[in-house]
């Protein structure tokens, strides 16, 4: 702890509060949403805070309107966000696809609750791991982040806003009911210390401007509506100016750009935590709130002399395939713990398929309660 930090006060903050404050720190100045448990606090706080700072908050009539509004806001130059939970996230899928197709930066927060349908509004789940990747139709890459603490909720919100700007796409930030409502003591950084990604402005005359110009660095200068540059925005396959095209070479180029801007920057996108993996023969893979139980289980197992470690991706999509293969190359048992019917379990089975002698054990829970450290420990001990 630096001296400067010591003088700053710790504050008790809720996960959802941290997301709202993270959004403000990252420069979000437009929020459109339709409040839903367990994400409501994010909208509530931003409805109070945004107007104070010259930003705008609008409660829309539903989630489809909400995501449409933040896409429009972003095209007009604002940094935009919405927050929802499972039922609303389903409705937003169409808009998420539109944001990806039109390369419009925006952030969708999904505080997961148990489903399907309205499910259990006040209970946690991790049922939207796959929906956050594949929920919208067509095929395009996604960027999805998932914190596991209040502090990280703040940090990854800032990162989500920055990545949305940098990669010109809709970034999804996952949380869950427990994480969103959990309170922890955190020390927020000075706003001056927060790194904010700004849009690169075009430096060409308006008549030369191409909104979707292929750029090898994938950071194309972007004009906002109302700045004198003309461009067309459509969900149809489009050329560099944004006008609809069905010429296969132009469509191919566009699809490659959408894919490559993520694929070629995996190193920049991936964040992963490894915990006590050095000599581990058993590894737990867990994300978000479940990783907290997993970490506790690792410590319990270590006290019993078991060589157990934990791998926790903070970036869920793109999934860190190669890094995880490396971490898991020497372990004998992999336990995948998650609050769904086995979504990451399938991913791990697929990426580890090349190694035949490897036990991959799913530990799944779907009753609206958290997986406990004891449950994970029991699976660890069974495996020996």
């Amino acid at each position: 702890m630096t001296k400067k930090n010591k003088e700053k006060e710790m504050v008790l903050l809720q996960g959802n509060q941290a997301i709202a404050y993270g959004a403000l720190a990252a420069g979000v100045n437009f929020f459109a949403g339709y409040p839903i448990t367990p994400s409501t606090e994010i909208a509530e706080i931003l409805s109070l805070e945004l107007p104070k700072r010259g930003g705008s908050f609008i409660q829309m009539e539903d989630e489809i309107a909400s995501i449409s509004a933040i896409i429009g806001g972003s095209l007009a130059g604002a940094k935009t966000m919405t927050a929802t939970s499972g039922p609303g996230f389903s409705l937003m899928q169409e808009g998420i696809g539109f944001a990806r197709m039109t390369e419009t930066p925006c952030v969708v927060v999904n505080v997961m609750r148990a489903g399907p349908s309205t499910g259990l509004p006040t209970n946690p789940s991790q049922g939207d791991i796959m929906q956050s990747r594949w929920g919208t139709h067509g095929d395009s890459p996604a960027i999805v982040l998932y914190p596991n603490s209040v502090k990280e909720s703040f940090e990854l919100t800032i990162r989500a806003v920055n990545l949305a700007e940098k990669y010109r796409t809709c970034v999804v930030l996952l949380s869950d009911e427990v994480l969103g409502h959990m309170r922890e003591a955190v020390m927020l950084p000075d706003l001056d210390d927060v790194n904010i990604v700004k849009r690169i402005k075009p430096n060409v005359p308006p008549e030369w401007y191409k909104h979707y110009k292929n750029n090898p660095k994938y950071r194309t200068p972007v004009a906002n509506f109302g700045e004198g540059y003309r461009f067309h925005v459509t969900g149809l396959a489009h050329d560099e100016l944004g006008f609809p095209t069905n010429k296969s070479e132009e469509v191919d180029e566009m699809m490659d750009r959408l894919d490559n801007k993520i694929k070629h920057h995996v190193d920049d996108l991936i964040q992963i935590e490894s915990f006590m993996m050095d000599d581990a023969t058993t590894a737990i893979l867990a994300v978000g709130i479940t990783s907290r139980a997993a970490k506790a289980a690792v410590l319990m197992a270590r006290k019993l002399g078991k060589r157990v470690g934990l791998i926790r991706p903070l970036t869920i999509w793109p999934f860190p395939n190669d890094i995880i293969r490396k971490y898991f190359s020497e372990v004998k048992t992999i336990i995948v713990a998650e609050l769904n019917q086995g979504q990451l379990y399938l991913v791990i089975k697929r990426i580890m398929a090349y190694k035949k002698k490897r036990r991959i054990v799913p530990l799944l829970r779907n009753d609206g309660e958290l997986i406990t450290p004891q449950q994970i420990l029991d699976v660890i001990l069974e495996g020996k």
Partner: protein
């Protein structure tokens, strides 16, 4: 399931339980805030139903002087039960030296456990002394704080002041004093 490594001097799992509308989550927030004022590492979680009143409700507060990970209390050092249902469900998960505090207005039967038990009709006391059952949460929380010495009174007072709406602060500070007094008097009966 506590992970007590040798260097952990302080690790407390506290559950405040009852039904929706009894103010348990507010009490949990106040307790967690008090801990933050003292520089103690703390995580507060909660569980409740979709209804605003009724249904099981609980708040967990974990305090420690070292890092811990799992955010919910699994076995309790201190358990407060304001309903029979909560008491039946959670009392068996008390630690050996865990303390049970119940509201005898609503909790009539306590299953056979070998723990230290404090029984007081907090809801009735709130009604008699303050004319409202709303501050039951603060009376019982203050009783808990005084009896267990888990945080200092100054921090609790500050947390009540910063959490409650302005028009409710006076009544809740009165409730705090009532809770402390009950604890002191309970002590003399021992």
């Amino acid at each position: 399931m506590v992970i007590k490594s040798e260097d952990v001097r302080f690790f407390e799992e506290i559950r405040l339980s009852g039904s929706g509308g009894q103010g348990l989550i507010t009490a949990g927030i106040i307790l967690a805030k008090s801990a933050v004022y003292k520089g103690i590492r703390v995580t507060q979680t909660q569980s409740y139903g979709p209804e605003s009143r009724g249904g099981a409700s609980r708040a967990d507060v974990i305090m420690s002087d070292t890092e811990f990970f799992y955010p919910e209390a699994t076995s309790f050092d201190i358990l407060l039960c304001l309903t029979q249902e909560a008491c039946d469900k959670y009392a068996p998960n008390l630690k050996e030296d865990g303390i049970l505090i119940v509201d005898s207005t609503l909790v009539k039967n306590i299953s056979m456990i070998n723990n230290k038990i404090y029984e007081l009709p907090f809801t009735n006391i709130a009604h008699e002394k303050l004319g409202s059952i709303l501050p039951t949460n603060i009376i019982s929380l203050s009783f808990l704080v005084r009896k267990t010495d888990i945080i200092c009174e100054k921090s609790l007072k500050k947390a009540i002041k910063t959490t409650m709406k302005a028009r409710h602060i006076d009544m809740n500070l009165k409730a705090m004093k009532i809770g402390f007094k009950l604890a002191d008097e309970y002590n003399s009966e021992d």
